[in-house]
Symmetry: C2
């Protein structure tokens, strides 16, 4: 058996952070832009984002939510209205103070002192405040409720330490904002959005997640309750992959979002907000990537099948290309995961093996190499990206009858989608540890366990206030955080690991991104 | 014959600018945001933009252009590199100078002096400079060319006088940026994009346009040649609805975009850029709107058919809704203009006539009102938005057999698309005036002619430099500009209206937005 020579220079086991950067670079997904904290999203990374957008947008529209667009800039005064929210966000934001540049007389440009804004504008870090102003205009009566809006937008949060897709100063996201007549309806919407995110992560991204409520200390600034989906990366760390917030009446009060109820009373609305971002792409990389690069779940792959003709720059190429084009056309007429199959015939010049490895690193689910002999014999040579190597340590190309492959190609894509989800779920479940009964046990588990320890499931007493702060401090010393309390989990038996009181709910404790 | 009582309070004839604002407001397309120069795009306006994006994006991808995403912020130093470009743009841009706010001690917030950026960041007014930097990294050899990129993004140009959709400080657009080995290839791309815009305007927006070259004084800052599509609004003014620029090697030199050619020589690339924006929506309003509101061409209508059941809140409603739902389902299974028909069954509470007029003002191409009697008799009552009134001055509802309507509904939508284009083209062509031979004639035409005079077609000698400046000044005194020189027009006979020299090309002269 040959030792496998992987496509990347760094393995996940050797250096997970370096591996992550290499996947992004070798799969040509994104790169540093030269602008502090901002990345350039390259065609393969952006193509995955377009797929995520398309699938998520369909889910959002199916729930009756209307897309809108609100201003990039938020006047400082809007921001100052919601005190808790400001405390949470005021620290690191991009502030626009001038609206003109002038020549400095030395060949350079400077902000024109004459063009200083009377009121600075904030580049939106999130849009609760500015959308709240619009809602206060749009809502008069109970007939206007619920008001369900969403926008796809860029937002900016000045970050000191950035990592591509996971934490960048500018990122792309969708933010849903809704207003309701009462708490029950707003909570139902908060949990609907959470379930939508869970389904998107599991079904579209093949990324298993735990949907649950964040502890009090991890709430969105100004929220009454915050829910998240949490995914386990291959290094055992947790990634918060989406959040949904019940905001109570605090934002409504700050923005004046009131309605006349059926009895003619002016009543405050209950609002929600929920979002997922380009961070999901980081989650896909760290869930499905391997030592040969990315593996993209077929549902979000810009190309699901790439056909590579082994061109020889001779008179045989025309027949080979015609064979490949017919194959592309027939495969494109198939439907997988509810959509036409996305097939690329890669006719570019270049060495066939170089092209193959470029697509392997990009993670295309199915790669077909077609040589003149395959064409003559009615064959195709196929490798599944999720089963790249055979037991002999060679690339697992299987020669198949062309018509048979065409007949089952779509089903194969659906099988890859399932297989990636199954693999990730099995790994995640195997890395959730139970049975720890005290803080010393927690400490020794994370100290002693292997490099990528995973998550610990505990029962706790849901402490609040100072008692919670104590727990947070204890965990912080171990570089741990409470991720969330899973929805619909039965009450755990026993006592709280931290307080010794009766345990009332289950939590996950982990290192995190 | 009854006098028609139109749905809007202002007619196009009475006050075109006020009419435009009323259409936007009554069709619930957009509104002022409270943030200077920025609008809120509401669901109906944003739904039209999503349709425009979808159709344009398909055209862009079909041309082999890859979508990417580049940073919102551009460091001041990037901007200072391309001198002409800076002169054109440096004046009015949003400048980020701080990255943090702090409490001012009086309950307010101020930019933190400790968090002043060493180098100010500009909110992109357009992305040539930052994309040029990326291209300089991505392009090494002739094999990397052409490099074809596009992004969908928001941009900011500080505007003193704004008008919704037409001129706002923040707007949404796509910007294509490409790099090529030589001038011929870059010019071909510039003209391909122009033709793409022409086809999109005519075929998708049903908006006739003249595609042509802008005069030297109207070029994009730093461009060697600028092309546009120009549409005539119903008030006879011109709207520049899209532009495509051949940038020569100037931007490539500033950003260092060089490639090794087949002979091993380092060679500067020739670049292009091209864009259309939410301004197109303003063009659609002023091309197709009438005194009852907007009329949306079916290709870009979020809903092409709206079914309004005449609910009576009694036991008959269930059967009526079932009838309408079956109709919706059968119509949705049809295909018009190459896509499934988009049908909304509007079941909301509210008076039927109020709902009807709301959809009339939004401009839905086909409105169906269905009462209990229609349902019982297998009928539908249909009005085409482009033929809203009958000769008797009543709303032109026609009772039709249900199955016959289902069979021809898609064809009807395609007919509306053609009819709107024909109507707009006929009006435009009737408003292009010829035969003016001197400046005095031009002056008297615009002084004497009716309120909405349209465009004048002239031959000119294509003056440059000081001679052109003279022409521009002459026209400016008449509030006129040269719109463009149409592509493929035969050389005009006679002499130049301005210089008296031989006329070498045709131009359009008009008032404009």
């Amino acid at each position: 058996m040959t030792a496998i020579r992987h496509a990347l220079t760094v393995t996940r086991e050797a250096d997970f952070a370096a591996w992550y950067q290499e996947v992004i670079s070798e799969a040509e997904m994104a790169e540093e832009s030269g602008v502090r904290g901002c990345m350039v999203i390259k065609p393969w990374g952006y193509g995955i984002w377009e797929r995520i957008q398309k699938l998520m947008d369909a889910r959002i529209k199916a729930a009756g939510v209307d897309n809108c667009y609100f201003p990039l800039f938020i006047p400082l005064s809007y921001f100052a209205k919601e005190a808790e929210h400001v405390d949470g966000f005021a620290k690191e934001m991009a502030v626009v103070t001038h609206h003109r540049l002038i020549q400095d007389g030395k060949g350079g440009l400077v902000p024109d002192p004459e063009a200083k804004l009377e009121e600075p504008l904030i580049v939106r870090p999130t849009s609760e405040t500015v959308i709240g102003q619009a809602m206060s205009r749009w809502i008069q009566s109970w007939r206007d409720l619920p008001l369900l809006t969403n926008q796809w937008a860029n937002v900016v949060r000045w970050e000191m330490r950035t990592r591509m897709f996971l934490r960048t100063s500018e990122f792309l996201w969708q933010e849903g904002h809704t207003a309701h007549a009462d708490k029950a309806d707003a909570m139902a919407e908060t949990l609907r959005a959470l379930e939508m995110y869970r389904a998107h992560a599991e079904d579209d991204l093949a990324m298993p997640v735990i949907a649950g409520e964040k502890p009090e200390n991890e709430r969105f600034p100004g929220a009454v309750a915050t829910y998240s989906i949490e995914a386990m990366m291959q290094d055992g760390k947790a990634l918060q992959a989406g959040t949904s917030h019940y905001l109570g009446t605090g934002f409504a009060e700050a923005a004046g979002i009131r309605y006349q109820d059926r009895d003619g009373q002016q009543t405050l609305c209950h609002t929600t907000s929920w979002g997922v971002s380009t961070r999901l792409i980081g989650g896909v990389i760290m869930t499905h990537g391997d030592d040969d690069g990315l593996r993209v779940p077929p549902a979000i792959a810009p190309h699901q099948i790439v056909i590579l003709p082994m061109l020889r720059e001779d008179e045989g190429d025309a027949a080979l290309l015609a064979y490949c084009e017919a194959l592309r056309s027939e495969l494109s007429a198939q439907s997988a995961l509810g959509e036409p199959v996305r097939v690329l015939l890669d006719k570019r010049a270049g060495k066939a093996t170089q092209k193959r490895w470029a697509w392997v690193k990009k993670g295309v689910p199915l790669i077909l190499e077609i040589g003149g002999r395959d064409a003559a014999g009615g064959q195709v040579s196929v490798v599944r990206r999720d089963r790249l190597w055979n037991e002999g340590g060679k690339v697992n190309f299987l020669a198949q009858n062309r018509d048979e492959f065409v007949a089952k190609g779509a089903a194969e894509l659906e099988d890859i989608q399932r297989a990636l989800h199954f693999e990730a779920t099995s790994r995640r479940d195997a890395q959730i540890h139970r049975g720890i009964t005290d803080v010393a046990g927690l400490e020794s588990f994370f100290a002693e366990s292997k490099r990528y320890p995973g998550w610990v499931e505990l029962g706790w007493s849901r402490p609040t206030g100072a008692a919670l702060e104590q727990v947070v401090a204890t965990l912080k010393a171990l570089k741990l955080t409470v991720r969330n309390t899973p929805m619909h989990a039965p009450a755990p038996g026993g006592t709280c690991v931290f307080t010794g009181q009766q345990a009332v709910e289950t939590i996950y404790v982990a290192r995190s991104y």
